[in-house]
Symmetry: C3
Subunit: 347 residues, 3 copies
Amino acid sequence: MTHPASPDFTLAELAERLGAHLVGGDEARRMTGLATLKEAGPDQVAFVANRSYLKDLATTRAGAVLLHSKHADVCPVARLELDNPYLGYAQLSRLFDPSLAPPQGGVHPTAVVADDVAMGDRVEIGPNAVVEAGVELGDDVVIGAGCVIGAHTCIGAESRLHPNVTVSYGVVIGKRAILHSGCVIGADGFGFAHDGGRWHKIAQLGGVVLGDDVEVGSCSSIDRGALDDTVIGNDVKIDSQVQIAHNVRIGDHSALAGCVGIAGSTRVGRNCMLGGGVGLSGHLTICDGVQVTGMSLVTNSIHEPGVYSSGTGAMPNAQWRRNAVRFKQLDDIARRLVRLEKRDQEG
Amino acid sequence: MTHPASPDFTLAELAERLGAHLVGGDEARRMTGLATLKEAGPDQVAFVANRSYLKDLATTRAGAVLLHSKHADVCPVARLELDNPYLGYAQLSRLFDPSLAPPQGGVHPTAVVADDVAMGDRVEIGPNAVVEAGVELGDDVVIGAGCVIGAHTCIGAESRLHPNVTVSYGVVIGKRAILHSGCVIGADGFGFAHDGGRWHKIAQLGGVVLGDDVEVGSCSSIDRGALDDTVIGNDVKIDSQVQIAHNVRIGDHSALAGCVGIAGSTRVGRNCMLGGGVGLSGHLTICDGVQVTGMSLVTNSIHEPGVYSSGTGAMPNAQWRRNAVRFKQLDDIARRLVRLEKRDQEG
Amino acid sequence: MTHPASPDFTLAELAERLGAHLVGGDEARRMTGLATLKEAGPDQVAFVANRSYLKDLATTRAGAVLLHSKHADVCPVARLELDNPYLGYAQLSRLFDPSLAPPQGGVHPTAVVADDVAMGDRVEIGPNAVVEAGVELGDDVVIGAGCVIGAHTCIGAESRLHPNVTVSYGVVIGKRAILHSGCVIGADGFGFAHDGGRWHKIAQLGGVVLGDDVEVGSCSSIDRGALDDTVIGNDVKIDSQVQIAHNVRIGDHSALAGCVGIAGSTRVGRNCMLGGGVGLSGHLTICDGVQVTGMSLVTNSIHEPGVYSSGTGAMPNAQWRRNAVRFKQLDDIARRLVRLEKRDQEG
């Protein structure tokens, strides 16, 4: 990629910011970025987050390596030692992120902002964004180009909406939210009464409430509630292409990978992890601490923490055809087996 | 959520609008909203749509309850009796919807509207919307902020496009459509000829036709046809994150839940219901009155109305692993069972 | 659909442009469009791309038919004979595409374009588009209405971004790209370190690189890399509603149908085809020439070209329930079968 300018730091500064122990390096040496052990040059920091990368450590050309002290002896260059190098990598990555410059503040002249919008300090509103009446924006909020923020929505301090995000009216978003481009918060949930051979729309009168530290990926949808709100807890991380239906509730610290779909009124506990493409039926309760592996379908509530799965992995098509056709005979197979077992016992 | 101001009605007005029978209440009492039996206060109407809510009826603090007369004796407060309380709820919800204010009309000064756009009465075009040449907009159409309407597209009366919807050129949309934010109507279908080791694009010359009373959820895609049009019937309801490929046809009154994907040229009948995440292969015919449960894969045409399913529900991962590995042996298991049965008969 | 004006061509011009042999028609006859054998009128060209359409050939009213010479004797009208009629259809479709008018060039007065944007010849930037600092746009690039192009992104010549596309900063897009409305290129990948009971964001410092001739469907997401780039090869075709996670690499000429999801760091080879709704787990390697059928889940690397599948097709719900419950007993069934076989051998 073609990078905008990013900041640089001395090794001493990095050690201080990470709470790491610098060993074997020049404190004044300036680091300009972060890279893998394989790719890093002498001005870049690399890291060892797990054993699988150890093989690249001995030959790295990095300016310094972030690692646990137990791997210190293999490291040929300066070390930044700390207990959780993966956390250190996360911290470092944010230091070097050129896109995380503090907001410059200011409303672009092409933005359309209602007169009564309440704005904190240093709020930045990008070109062609639209902010409707009664909206409240906390300190340091950034509204990207082309975003539309519906009437009476509140967005907490330090939240950042990337370009072309749409937030409907009356939505509440906590502090430090990150909403990626194309996501839609607060569109109508899917509710209709059937009568006389046709559908009658149920207006969606609830809202959406996002806690603090929520991230929502690109092109994801979180629908507004029918009567009560759809509620996303604190520190919930939602990937791209996710669909969250009306009145879903998701507990704090849960993470949803790409393409997850959650049907209406289902409650997901705290510290849950849903793999890519997982589907949850409506009106379920998923307890705290549940992990569901990719593309599984959950049609019943889950009351015990643990890992859950469904489906069958891919195999060569010819083999699959033979097995898939047998799946349709499975109940028959089971019954015939019981019959044989009986005859065996009898005979 | 933080609500914009919503309207209020007396109990007598509500009874009249719903065609309901008011029993035991003060006709002049004003109701300001709608809530569940549990949450409703004395200024709010609640409803009993099915037996599962009856347990909350005896203790409700609602100002009035919408219900069938057969549940009248359990109700401690004023009653609005009618035959289909769920339909009544749908009607009430629209009365109280603060977002359904009639359009104020007018083109926002930042909207870019071609000179020859034909506009009905009270058309409203939001900030930074773009309406290209030759577009026709019926009476009371609302085009939200940031929408782009391609050339020569027609949108029927009372249709409402929420912010940041994209409609391509030459699309036909019926009356009373509701298009939610981020949906895209009329992008190219996915068609290529393969020759000389590479793909050659097939221009998508067909259009998209939506009937009357169609709703399309946030971030959904309905692609334009290759030669003929993609056609969505009247009163078809489409949820968020849905993909409808080129030349699909969907019959009147069908409903598609979130994350459904329909491949090219498949025809879905009238009054069908596709659960969340359902996938239909291309070139199929699904007859009227078919329901498909969530995340099922349909690879063959369906000629009988009824409920169809595929897949396997989630189970604890350790149990799943044991069973999923057996799935790959299923044909072998079936053959071995036949062998045993033969030996049993012979011997 | 309501078409904008489209171009017309004489049969002689069409024969020349396609390298086809015109037989039995008036060279000067003007054709105004393309249609199916059934629908085509005397001013339209139809085509026979495969045997299944042959039944409609004898009765076609088309002005001319594109076909292989082996089908010439059945054709009642003028013929445009060539070796690959489906390729010919692709070429014809582009000739008649009213939306493919050459760009008129020019920056719309409502577009917000940074001073230092480097623009080739005939670049067209639509209403309310935003192009940030340091962007480079090649010759004949078209940026649709409402698009936002992040800082320092490069877009190759003849690329066309439909309205409301979002491209983040530092993205590299090759020549002749087609990006459909609502797609998002370069949003953050989904990366967090877990520590102290909460998530710590890993800034996504890599970019996205699209080769030449890439097409991306509506509402699809291609996320930026964590450290290295996410890389999409030349001539890769991506349908709508697709999610491509950080650091995925896709080889040249591969095609991904709608609703595909690919998790982080997976590498897909050249000339692969992924059916609708296919999911690939993270960190896999899929070799060249692999096809995966619709809605299959791939959790292991694939090292042999061929067709792969998973899942089970839909069946009537009552039958499915009986079989699906047996799936949970499958390991038990297999073990009991082994026991019976042993007893049979022993006895």
